[in-house]
């Protein structure tokens, strides 16, 4: 395959090379035809080659192509001409290839004047413009001083802002005066606009003295603006003023604290830390935000504040220490915890390290869970203390703690979170113990390990609806994360969907199903479109699958399901759903209806009958789930591990059976059952099974000749052919007349024999034993001499396509 591509590539580049060399000898007509045949260019090298030729033949080449443009109408195709013309204009507008720009421009100009259709003319004119110097844009209108002065009195705030800006720009010396008067204005929009314009004009430093001087007497609104301004411009000299405003209360305090955080500096850190845990909750929160982003050392200030005892409420300090991973604070935290400040437990996670594991285990094991104590913060800290250890090491540490703990179950969730195989094993065992069951379940729910999925599904099957609702989303996540085989993942999710569950959970499962890009997942999700509760999730799922899948989906299913999904998505009125509906639009436009197979005129004359023309399986019975019509072919997609046969509706005696087959995977195994009853193994209880087998797969290298493709299985060997590559179609004919059977593959006869002769008349062992010395496979074939029966496809596993199935019924007795 790869070799062929490389050859094609080589061939193309050789011909393109030649063609560039002789461009000047070709007529303009030939150049134009060659260029149009290569439009649109797929890469820049091709583009250069084509456009060099086209430009070399300008202006005539341009005029000729433009003359091909027709007025737009249904069925009119101008696109290649548009590609060529805009391409050549872009090409010569490139400063590195502009040699022929004048000739191209002349061609475009002639084309413009020759063009009568207004739309095409507009297109050509737009191309002309690309080759002309840029027209100067008129300058934006600026306000005159007089206009600006008048506008300063406008009732619209924006007008006054623009007027002030114009006047300040006109005379920057007056900018400070504008600031000074703006500070007195009650219009916040104007105040801030003037502040910002003056800053741009004069630089922040020039404003500082004025703002500091005026600050005490300003209105609260103006004070707020100035505090914000000090922070945004990081005015260090205003630090004292800003710190002084911490206590003013309300929005001003908050603004001052935020501004101080932006200004930074050592004194500021101390002041901010002192606000943490104070009486004013809003100030404390503002200080926390400022300290979290504080660009400087806050470690010393925090530790110092923690070791002091004057702090009313140390919780925010520990929160900050934890956030910044100040492990030095851990001993103080444990000390305060033991003296009854239980709130601190919530902020241990960033403070602890592996050295604290045993201490935390002791604290956890000592808890009484009667509602008075909360285990979660300590368990979080316990987990956090292990975060630098490997999962196996964590398992080792926790299981050792469990072996001696009073309350083993307290540690089960942590055990589960190690995600190790052993943890899942231990928890599954513990689940059997009535007393440990709930905690073991919690642990299993937390285990990030694929083996937990099977355990959870087993639990779900025995649980009530509420429990099922808890389990299934987790189960789906595990399947989603760990199952690499999409067919298996689809099967596992279909099992979950079959359990009783809430609509919300069903929708979650459908969302996960939407990530499995297989035909069967598409059909499964499609089934949930009709239920109002699940329609939207199903619609998004089928959309996602359809856009990703590499598998073929039968056109009529594709269309009906996506049509439905689109109307569901359109109806929600949600913007994202609108996007999805558009995506479906595009997919439906591009989808092709299934091709229909037809008899050749000769077959028609001979009396052949179509058994499958690509549309439906009306003339067939049996496993129609595993054999489905997909885009003109029967797609064999039997479920994982399941098996299934497809039988003709009628029985036949003598016949010519023709079909085409295509392997999509290596090692496909199937077969045609001849004169067989239903529900039996055709190779033994039918007359025979003619093998369909990808015997070229390495795993079949040692096959016997009576097992290869086309062989009458176990009875008559076939000539071993070499199959066409995967994805290509082969033809096959099986002619059965009396005891004679003839198999022709890709036009070559590979079996032509007589079954009675092949077993010397003994289809079963004459002595009644299991070993029959007369057949090549030494087995009994009780059905071998059947006079009539069904024709079937028999096999299992996914990846075979069959199409154009027809039969000539020769009827008759032997």
């Amino acid at each position: 395959m790869k070799k062929t591509l490389a050859l094609i590539f080589l061939f193309l580049s050789v011909t393109l090379g030649l063609h560039a060399q002789d461009a000047r000898q070709r007529t303009v007509e030939t150049v134009v035809a060659d260029v149009l045949a290569a439009m649109p260019a797929q890469n820049s090298a091709d583009f250069r080659t084509q456009m060099t030729d086209l430009a070399a033949a300008a202006p005539e080449s341009i005029v000729q192509i433009a003359a091909l443009l027709k007025p737009a109408a249904e069925g009119v195709r101008n696109n290649l001409y548009e590609y060529a013309l805009s391409g050549v204009v872009n090409f010569v507008s490139d400063p590195s290839s502009k040699d022929r720009a004048d000739a191209v421009l002349e061609g475009i100009r002639r084309a413009v004047s020759a063009c009568a259709d207004p739309t095409n003319k507009a297109f050509l004119t737009s191309l002309e413009r690309m080759l002309l110097p840029a027209a100067k844009l008129p300058e934006a209108k600026t306000l005159s001083v007089k206009e600006a002065k008048a506008l300063l009195k406008s009732p619209v705030s924006g007008d006054r802002c623009a007027a002030a800006e114009a006047l300040m720009k006109n005379n920057p010396a007056k900018a400070l005066k504008f600031v000074s008067s703006a500070l007195k204005s009650t219009d916040g929009q104007y105040r801030n606009a003037v502040l910002s314009d003056a800053t741009d004009l004069l630089g922040a430093g020039s404003l500082v003295p004025l703002l500091m001087k005026r600050f005490p007497k300003l209105s609260d609104g103006a004070k707020l603006d100035v505090l914000n301004w000090f922070g945004n411009n990081k005015i260090h000299t205003a630090t004292d003023l800003v710190l002084g405003a911490f206590g003013t209360g309300g929005d001003l305090s908050k603004a001052a604290i935020a501004a101080a955080g932006k200004i930074g500096g050592a004194g500021v850190a101390k002041a901010l830390v002192s606000q943490l845990g104070g009486n004013d909750a809003a100030n404390s929160a503002a200080a926390m935000t400022a300290l979290k982003s504080f660009n400087g050392n806050i470690r010393d200030e925090i530790l110092q504040a923690l070791s002091g005892s004057e702090q009313v409420n140390a919780v925010p300090l520990f929160a900050l220490a934890s956030e910044r991973r100040l492990t030095e604070a851990a001993p103080i935290a444990f000390e305060r915890l033991s003296s009854g400040e239980t709130e601190i437990a919530k902020h241990l996670t960033g403070l602890v390290d592996p050295g604290d594991i045993q201490k935390l285990a002791g604290l956890i094991d000592g808890l009484k869970l009667d509602g008075s104590q909360d285990i979660k913060p300590l368990v979080n800290a316990f987990d956090a203390a292990q975060r630098t250890l490997s999962p196996d090491k964590r398992y080792e540490v926790i299981s050792e703690i469990i072996s001696t703990a009073k309350h083993k179950e307290y540690f089960f969730p942590s055990l589960g979170r190690t995600g190790t195989d052993k943890a899942v094993e231990d928890l599954s065992k513990a689940f059997a113990d009535e007393n440990l069951r709930d905690a073991a379940f919690d642990g299993l729910m937390q285990a990030d390990n694929y083996s937990a999925a099977a355990a959870l599904l087993d639990i779900a099957k025995l649980s009530g609806k509420e429990q099922v609702d808890r389990i299934l989303p987790r189960y789906a996540d595990l399947v989603d994360k760990f199952e690499a085989d999409p067919a298996k993942a689809r099967f596992l999710l279909s099992q979950a969907l079959d359990l009783p569950q809430s609509v919300a959970v069903k929708n979650y499962l459908l969302t996960v199903l939407g990530r499995i890009p297989t035909m069967k997942a598409f059909l499964l999700a499609g089934k949930y479109l009709d239920n109002e509760g699940t329609a939207r999730a199903a619609a998004n799922a089928v959309k996602n699958i359809a856009s990703k899948t590499q598998e073929e989906i039968n056109y009529s299913d594709f269309k009906s399901i996506l049509d439905k999904a689109r109307s569901v998505l359109r109806a929600t009125g949600d913007a994202d759903d609108g996007y999805s509906a558009d995506e479906i639009d595009k997919m439906l436009t591009e989808a092709q209806p299934s091709p229909i197979s037809r008899l050749t005129p000769e077959e028609e004359k001979q009396g052949f009958e179509m058994l499958f023309d690509g549309t439906d399986l009306d003339k067939w019975q049996g496993d129609k789930e595993g054999y489905t019509p997909v885009n003109g072919a029967i797609y064999v997609s039997a479920d994982y591990g399941a098996s299934g046969n497809l039988y003709t509706k009628k029985e036949y005696r003598n016949f010519v059976f023709r079909f085409e087959f295509c392997f999509l995977r290596e090692g496909i195994n199937n077969g045609v059952g001849v004169r067989t009853p239903m529900g039996v193994d055709a190779a033994y209880d039918g007359m025979c099974e003619v093998q369909i087998l990808d015997h070229d797969a390495p795993m079949y290298a040692n096959l016997r000749d009576y097992q290869v493709h086309g062989s009458v299985y176990g009875i008559i060997p076939a000539k071993r052919i070499v199959h066409k590559p995967l994805g290509e179609w082969g033809t096959q004919e099986i002619r059965v007349e009396g005891d004679n059977i003839k198999v022709t593959v890709n036009g070559e006869v590979i079996v032509d024999g007589n079954i009675r002769k092949a077993c010397k008349g003994h289809n079963v062992a004459p002595d009644g034993s299991d070993v029959n010395p007369y057949t090549v496979d030494r087995r009994n074939h009780p059905g071998l001499f059947n006079k009539q029966g069904y024709i079937s496809f028999c096999g299992h596993g996914e990846g075979l396509k069959i199409r154009n199935v027809r039969i000539l019924d020769l009827g008759g007795d032997i």
Binding site: A41, D94, P95, D225, S293, N295, G573
Partner: protein, 435 residues
């Protein structure tokens, strides 16, 4: 244009149409309808464009902090739906406008929410700024670099508050990263990955480029639906015969209005990267594209777009179906890599990040910004920078060549044709509105 607007006015109830030009004080003088006078701390908003975005569950809202008072659309059906939804959801009679200039002139509207296709964004934002409105603009900010410059100028000149509506630079899980951008910002700012950095925005790192937003060639002219004022829908864009694929949900596939998946998702994906790399005040200097030749009207697909900054930092976009194979880092520097899901080559990276200060706090509440007149976290200048990255990409795609850009002058270096794409022609009278 004037023709169709007049005929609309004739068709619709004259009373309603007249309403639109009554200034606020007239209502005051008339004494009635107190609900029209907003309390000083309650803001009001009008939406231009009531299609998929404007009617989305995040935007078609009205509450005591900010009341939705007006809607505008050139498609009468969309407009009727919006008015009906306003009745149903908020029990309000929304003022409805056919011509956005009337909504911008409405004294009852404080904030103009621009939710039209992007070829309108620049003109509308400038007009709204001039009318003294604050602006909430959908992505991408503008369709051309020149329009972006004009918006920045106007917003500053008129002292307005502007927000571009994408948000990953300050909140929410950022697609493939699996976290907000904050930890990555801290990691990068502390220099722990080294410098320069390369960011790969690709299906391989968890970002989809939505190639279904491609246009169609050979569009046949179709009759314009009665409810649609196509001329006003086009506005500044070149006149082309109507085809339903040009408008509404599929307009992104045409260069005249946007630039496909790049235009739709570009600013969404790239703005946070600009923040992470600390490039809010500069632009890339080189843009390279690898793509099939682009049609002059219909947006096509591309394989990759590579932006390079003067200091060597790179942003690489990989088209759908052309992603790098194998394990690909989202961001990569000489000292470390971060992959999809924040998998990092630095051991215990979250512990390391936790010891670093948070990024400087920003103003992320737009209504609060409007009240306090502080700049929003994603204000006009920053948004113009990240939108320009998108527009640089579409210029290079359309011309099919490598472009060089000068951040100081915001022009292409030595390429006249590319510079023509910075300010593209507009139909009258729209060009004059943005000057």
């Amino acid at each position: 244009m004037g023709e169709s607007r007049r005929s609309f006015l004739k068709k619709s109830a004259a009373g309603i149409a007249l309403f639109t030009i009554l200034p606020r004080k007239v209502f005051g003088a008339m004494g009635g309808d107190k609900s029209r006078v907003a309390p000083s701390d309650q803001m009001t908003r009008g939406i231009i464009g009531t299609g998929g975005i404007g009617m989305g569950r995040l935007h078609f809202v009205s509450d005591e902090h900010c009341r939705l008072v007006a809607v505008c659309d050139v498609d009468q059906r969309h407009l009727d739906q919006a008015v009906a939804a306003g009745k149903e959801k908020f029990n309000t009679n929304l003022q409805s406008y056919h011509d956005w200039r009337d909504l911008v002139a409405d004294p009852n509207v404080d904030i103009v929410h621009i939710a039209t296709p992007s070829h309108w964004h620049g003109i509308m934002a400038v007009a709204a700024a001039k009318a003294g409105k604050d602006i909430f603009c959908e992505k991408p900010m503008t369709r051309t670099i020149g329009e972006g410059q004009k918006v920045v100028e106007a917003v500053n000149q008129y002292g307005r508050i502007f927000r571009l509506n994408t948000w990953f630079r300050f909140k929410d899980t950022f697609y493939g990263l699996g976290t907000t951008v904050e930890p990555l910002k801290k990691l990068v700012s502390a220099g722990l990955l080294g410098w320069p950095l390369t960011v790969r925005i690709s299906g391989a790192t968890g970002f989809a480029w939505k190639f279904f937003w491609t246009g169609r060639e050979n569009l046949e002219p179709m009759p314009i639906p009665q409810e649609l004022d196509y001329d006003l829908w086009l506005g500044p864009a070149p006149y082309k015969p109507y085809n339903q694929h040009r408008v509404h949900q599929t307009f992104r596939g045409y260069w005249d209005y946007e630039s496909g998946g790049l235009g739709d998702m570009g600013q969404h994906y790239i703005d946070p990267v600009q923040y992470i790399l600390g490039k809010d005040d500069t632009f890339p200097v080189k843009i390279e594209v690898d793509a099939p030749q682009q049609h002059p009207d219909a947006v096509g697909i591309w394989r990759s777009i590579t932006y390079t900054y003067a200091d060597g930092c790179k942003i690489i976009l990989e088209g759908e179906g052309f992603e790098s194979k194998g394990k690909v880092p989202y961001i990569e520097g000489p000292n470390g890599k971060v992959y999809k899901g924040f998998e990092c080559t630095i051991p215990n990276v979250m512990d390391v990040i936790n010891t670093l200060p948070d990024p400087e706090p920003r103003n992320t509440d737009f209504l609060e910004c409007v009240k306090t007149r502080q700049k929003f976290a994603l204000e006009e200048t920053i948004a113009h920078h990240s939108c320009t990255i998108v527009n640089l990409g579409s210029c290079a795609l359309r011309l099919g060549r490598t472009l060089h850009f000068d951040p100081a002058t915001q022009t292409f270096v030595g390429d006249d044709a590319a510079n023509l794409l910075i300010n593209q022609p507009m139909r009258t009278p729209w060009a004059s509105m943005i000057l």
